[in-house]
Symmetry: C2
Subunit: 550 residues, 2 copies
């Protein structure tokens, strides 16, 4: 009979335990969790705080008792593993409630300790109105604080996916929410012009946000907490949520001499083994080569942790037969009324890594425009400029954003290209899509660029071009042009273009733009095939330009 120990009882750990039992009815399986709960819905915590999830019980997917009854797994909550003795294949465990320590031996050990919220040593950070959010106990604290103090104002520090979910939920409770973020944008996995769409949306919700600014101190004055920013700005608040990121829980691993990545993640090989053949590692704490960049990365997401769990259990029982392929960080968040999603790597990473790439942005509608309630989306994809291999995608919109990002992630992860996007055979009826799905359109538009049929410029390149030798051509209607246009552009609607070619100089660069890029593309094709040699289309059209420059 084999004996398996598991450290950490949530997304990664609990999944390993469950699958292990299904594979091996006879094994002894013990799962250690230093906290009060196992198998809780981390991802639901913000929504419980926001009263969207009303029933606390719902957060607890399993209890030690249910785990025992269903799966015959011994769960020890309030039991922290404090040492791994690799030589003797044993761990030292401390009962958190009694302080007692004991030893437990293993045949195989599984590490899924997760990652902990970063709490920088800012003056005043210990104030009782400042919270981080990782588990149910943290959540109970925020909830109790809200009930007891009825905060009217909240500051969310850090505008990642979780920060924005918290902003939404606190807003939902009626608080005036301010977001403070060091970067020039919210949601780091997005590129700037995509984040700009989120910025616009936050404004419509009266959520205040301060970008390129960080907290330098917290100070309590009377009933009020004063948050001072680097810029000197002061925000008075009643509640602070710190969500500036997490770091891998690697203390045990480090002390046991397991190999760590530069960022602190515990390195796993393709079987999810650490450098000790009896210790598997998974989840937030694990560093694994990123499928696109090849760099050791941690992926702080529940989907990968759950999937890794099954692989780890299989490898334990059947002796390392199953390979993990890595995760490309496909992520999504509902941010008030919009949905924001991304997969793969953004343009900024491609730039940093000096990888050759092309980025293109399209806009369209969630389903056939003639069927009611079609809503706009913006989709950016990144691909190799020659072979069209996909690097990443970002999408913002309403219904169906999840669908499209999942489709692109699926293609991307299989090493696919823009041509595979074209081939996606989606299910089409008017309530669900268009005859050409947005993912197809992204593939078509990208191919036109890769094959040289269309040259594009991006919203931030347009200003570099401001010179005598450029014509900025707005091919929208006169009415659209009047509502707003790029400084210095001339207006010839695409439908008039063939008849008015002589108004344009053949010796100048022409930068064409329309609303979203489609009419601009058609205009570019007309011009390119009519003797104009240097013709560019503004990627994402005026819509992206307008969002991004303000």
């Amino acid at each position: 009979m084999s004996k398996y120990l598991i450290i950490g009882g949530v997304a990664g750990g609990a999944t390993v335990a469950a699958r292990l039992r299904r594979l091996d009815e006879q094994a002894e399986i013990i799962m250690f969790e230093r906290g009060a709960h196992i198998s809780y819905a981390n991802c639901g915590l913000p929504y419980y705080i926001g009263d969207v999830i009303k029933d606390r019980e719902k957060l607890l997917l399993q209890t030690p008792e249910s785990f025992k009854a269903r799966l015959n797994v011994e769960v020890r909550v309030f039991n922290e593993v404090v040492k791994i003795d690799r030589e003797n294949k044993a761990v030292v465990v401390r009962n958190v409630e009694t302080g007692e320590e004991y030893t437990e031996s293993y045949d195989k050990l599984v590490l899924s300790p997760g990652a902990e919220p970063i709490k920088p040593p800012i003056s005043g950070i210990k104030d009782p109105s400042i919270f981080t959010l990782r588990n149910v106990v943290d959540t109970d604290k925020v909830k109790a604080y809200c009930n007891d103090h009825q905060p009217k104002r909240a500051v969310v520090v850090g505008a990642g996916f979780i920060g924005l979910e918290m902003a939404e939920n606190l807003h939902h409770l009626g608080m005036k929410v301010s977001i403070v973020e060091m970067a020039k944008q919210v949601m780091a996995p997005l590129d700037y012009e995509m984040a700009a769409v989120v910025h616009q949306h936050l404004k419509t919700k009266q959520v205040e946000f301060f970008l390129k600014d960080g907290v330098t101190s917290f100070k309590r004055e009377g009933g009020v907490l004063n948050v001072t920013l680097q810029s000197g700005r002061q925000i008075e608040t009643d509640l602070v949520i710190l969500s500036i990121g997490v770091k891998p829980e690697n203390k045990l691993a480090r002390e046991a001499g397991l190999e760590l990545a530069p960022n602190g993640g515990i390195i796993a090989n393709e079987y999810l083994l650490s450098n000790d053949e009896n210790i598997y590692v998974l989840g937030d704490a694990m560093a694994f080569p990123h499928p696109i960049t090849g760099k050791l990365s941690n992926i702080y997401l529940a989907g990968p942790a759950n999937k890794q769990g099954r692989i780890v259990a299989d490898n334990i029982v059947s002796g390392n037969t199953r390979k993990y392929k890595g995760a490309i960080a496909t992520a999504i968040a509902k941010v008030f009324d919009i949905t924001v999603a991304s997969t793969g790597i953004p343009e900024k990473t491609l730039k940093n890594e000096m990888m050759p790439y092309t980025a293109n942005i399209i806009h369209g509608a969630s389903h056939a425009g003639y069927y009611p309630d079609a809503l706009p989306y913006t989709l950016k994809i990144l691909f190799h400029p020659e072979n069209g291999k996909l690097y990443g995608a970002q999408m913002i919109g309403y219904e169906g954003v999840d669908k499209r990002i999942d489709l692109i992630a699926t293609v991307l992860k299989q090493g696919g290209s823009i041509y595979d996007l074209q081939d996606i055979e989606h299910a089409y009826a008017p309530p669900f899509s268009s005859a050409k799905d947005p993912v197809n359109q992204a593939g078509f538009a990208a191919e036109n660029i890769v094959s040289g049929k269309l040259k594009i410029v991006s919203w931030d390149e347009i200003h570099n071009f401001h010179s005598e030798n450029i014509v900025l051509l707005d091919v929208r209607t006169a009415a659209e042009n009047e509502l707003g246009h790029i400084e210095g552009s001339v207006n010839i609607p695409v439908d008039d273009l063939r008849g008015r070619l002589d108004e344009l100089p053949k010796d100048k660069k022409i930068i064409v733009y329309c609303g979203v890029g489609l009419r601009g593309y058609i205009a570019c094709r007309i011009l390119t095939q009519s003797g104009f040699s240097e013709v560019y289309n503004l990627s994402g059209g005026y819509k992206t330009y307008e969002h991004s420059i303000c």
Copy 2:
């Protein structure tokens, strides 16, 4: 300057024309349409009848004028091509309004004539209250009839995707709808037990349906139309929609000696060329080898027609460089409150073709159960019993059915397997999915079968097993068991099973079932590893069984 002629001005034809122009600004492009409109939204017609789409203009995506202005394509509506003269590379065109005929020569000809509704020679079928639905003119007629006669009752003959959309829309207008269908189920691309879910749903909407029954005659008596069925049943009605299927428009092609498939489709090769190197063919009229069965098939769907259009244009301009990969008939329909979708081939086809396969059904929720409004889905997948290669999938549920069927279709079309389903890295946050998406779960559950960890039986096999040597074991709770169970089963809840193994005989076959299959699976694993050798799980659990047997 090349001259391209296109026959048919809607999904396939108009797309070819548009892309041709973008590729070749100088070519002469003429598009012939015998009807009154081009580029209309066929798929929106039922919804316009149902007043869901209120504005008729919205159905017309382009007009001859807009096509001319934007794309410089000459569109000739009311112009029917009546003959193809392959030898002289010319067509004979009849002006439908004047009756005049003229000839037009081509360098390349494109055939996208579509398919026409089947109207069997049933007595009384010419009654003015009986309609088929293909184009805007047909739709106008139904609409006018409804306005003039205010029908209270409608009969829909044929329960395919379009038939059910029509049923929903007529019901939406307040009519009492009856559906008549020759097969034993609605929606042919589904297998019976999946269609059974639709049957249940139709009942909740007070939609009457008569299966395994066909119309033998229509007879007008006074203001009422009497519909007589094979069974002898009579239905009185005010309006009939015939939607029993379509057949390829192949008259022109046949007379021109183009090669036809047994079902009448015009055969295309991988470049979408007919057997004449100057004639391309696409859309509903085209027969192409099915990617899974290899058999020549027509796919009556707008997505493929649109995508083929782009390929045809590319091949015309750049000389047959782009290959079409075929379509696997990924389709979807909203049927009242539920969404029904399918891709690939169903179990019945696999049976007919005598291909080795395994079918498995799972049930789950559209997103994390702890987040509000998670709704149930049922997902059936079909795969090779040994290598797990996917053949098809069918899914019914509410939100997110489109997403999952698209994901499975994408994997399937790339020749993928159940293992690829497991690897799908979906975007997860509570409003959108679960940490393991349904597509992952389908892959996991299938792998357990392929790898021999679990044996399954289907709802319709269970009765074959009724014998002395079988134990039917319900592992749900006693309370669930009391609400309904399979005749003759014993009840041991899964959580008690380990302690009550001695109540079960080791020399008999044990068929386990639970609500949806998951607890049954766990029970099977316990039993199999505790000395019981012949243990089976009921695929889809009691839920599928209950839906299917009634």
